[in-house]
Subunit: 331 residues, 2 copies
């Protein structure tokens, strides 16, 4: 008694890994960010992560009882506790991440991909708190998604459900890091909109502040800011991006008929430049039985560390499930 029950949320990104101790109400008691060292093998990462957790633990203002650990990671397999062929980490074909972390921390540990973790965060602390059916779209370097049906994340048969970033816009379209062509994320993501700006600079003759910027220097933030200043190429880039996003969201609605689609990530800072045309095109593309029914919302936890909160929500959920199973078993 007396110790505060907490979970540890960890978000493993290609560049940085974020972690934080979170209580049951979603209060972040302490948080940190450390380099992932993506070019190093997994055991190196685990050793550094362990160190970072220990340092953060010492910073906690109260004594805590660590109930479990939730992790979001690219290509994480929820069922197997593994990370498989992650595109941005040099970890090889399969890393038994849960088993490796459990050696240091013998508590319940669950992993999922980062967009699924964000969906759980949104359901527990954000705009989806009353929703049972919604789709979370994270717009970062790529496009991630988490699909919630009947109040549960959809993992599918193999644990890899919800890869809307790799649905096909055009099988002869842009080359994708996944080895195929025309995936949604080659158009709709921070990288995708940069590619679109370059296409538009080639297609049109309009002047644009972005004509002075190299592809490598161009960032999604620059495009967002140019759009907010009324730059025609930037505005057209958001129009183009929104139309393709809306087309594939209409397909997603025909699959699971969500109450809302929630957008998260840097691109959403463009506000109406993104939401305006996406809403308009979406209504146009939706089949009549869905028209006027699907909300397009901005994440409610944009300014907090959503991935860490989501990873923490993942393990709190799991702990609740364990508890309810134990209850049933004792009845």
């Amino acid at each position: 008694m007396g110790k505060l029950e907490v979970t540890l949320g960890i978000d493993i990104g290609g560049t940085n890994t974020k972690l934080g101790f979170v209580d049951r109400e979603g209060n972040m008691l302490a948080e940190a960010s450390v380099p992932t060292h993506a070019e190093q093998p997994a055991p190196f990462f685990i050793a550094h992560l362990h160190q970072a957790i220990q340092m953060l633990w010492r910073k906690l203002p109260v004594e805590v009882d660590l109930k479990g650990i939730g992790m979001g990671a690219p290509n994480a397999n929820y069922y197997r506790g593994t990370v498989e062929k992650p595109p941005n980490l040099d970890w090889g074909d399969e890393t038994p991440l849960v088993a490796m972390v459990r050696k240091h921390y013998p508590v319940p540990i669950v992993i999922t991909n980062d967009a699924n973790a964000a969906a759980l965060g949104e359901m527990k602390y954000g705009v989806a708190q009353t929703m049972k059916n919604f789709i979370m779209i994270t717009l970062g370097t790529g496009l991630g998604s988490g699909i919630v049906v009947n109040g549960d994340l959809v993992y599918g048969h193999d644990g890899f459900a919800g890869e809307l970033g790799h649905t096909l816009v055009n099988v002869n379209g842009r080359y994708c890091g996944c080895g195929r062509r025309g995936c949604l994320e080659t158009y709709v993501s921070a990288t995708g909109i940069r590619r679109t700006v370059y296409k538009l600079l080639a297609d049109y003759i309009e002047d644009s502040e972005m004509r002075q910027v190299s592809f490598d220097d161009l960032s999604a933030e620059m495009i967002t800011e140019a759009a907010l200043r009324g730059d025609k190429i930037a505005l057209e880039a958001f129009e183009y991006t929104s139309r393709i996003l809306a087309m594939k969201l209409a397909d997603a609605v025909a699959h699971t008929s969500p109450e809302a689609i929630i957008l998260f990530g840097g691109l959403t800072r463009a506000g109406e430049s993104l939401f305006g045309p996406t809403k308009r095109y979406l209504e146009g593309f939706l089949m009549n039985i869905y028209k006027g029914k699907v909300k397009l919302l901005r994440s409610g936890i944009m300014d907090k560390n959503v991935a860490v909160l989501g990873a923490s929500a993942l393990i709190w959920n799991e702990l609740d499930k364990i508890k309810s199973t134990e209850k049933k078993a004792t009845v």
Copy 2:
């Protein structure tokens, strides 16, 4: 005691309505088919249906206890018990079908769309008996679908989930009965492949037995038989159909990551002409983490009355749910 417990399965189609009494093991005790009279209002249909049920009841070889009624119908809303804006029935905006049938038969009644009913039939009596995650595709006049996640049908927020026939292949493509353009079912369905044959007859100069047939006379069966005889246009039509089907199935896999996709309906009688290229293209279109994992199967209940069996499975499922809730309440 002594009376056999049965449910009544009803499948409402644009042309005919099929009904049958089914026991808990899936045995069809008696079945019938009556005209739907799609041009008449709903109360007329209900009166005729009531008559047909009474006639069928008298034909039953044993005394039965009717536990419930399951119905499959176009644009059926599972949550509300209504049929809303059905494309092929002149029933208006909203018909409270469950309430209307319950006036005659005061038992538990559930409705869903016909493809959902087929998915349940497959799960209870067909090739999906051990599966928790699969997608059912029914290829008829249109393309219907039922998505199963974690052992449950996905109904979504509004009861209309699983309309893969209206995902978008090409927003400037073929006109669809739903009022939009380029929907999957305008390419992949009995009607879709007829349209494709006519496109190919226009594009190519190859001789074909189908050059003597008018569009109105051309049937999917004819195309299937022509393909089986090696007609080049017919084979190319299946190739074209399969490629588009595979492209959208790859998207569907990226949503819910099913163990299998099950095809049902007349077009599947083409066998390898359909399954061969669909499997080949699907493997090509799938993202690497899904490759080699998703089975493409033919329905296991093709030769039985799947829609009626499925509608019956729907209500047996519901009755089991009611029972388990009652059990919980008495613990």
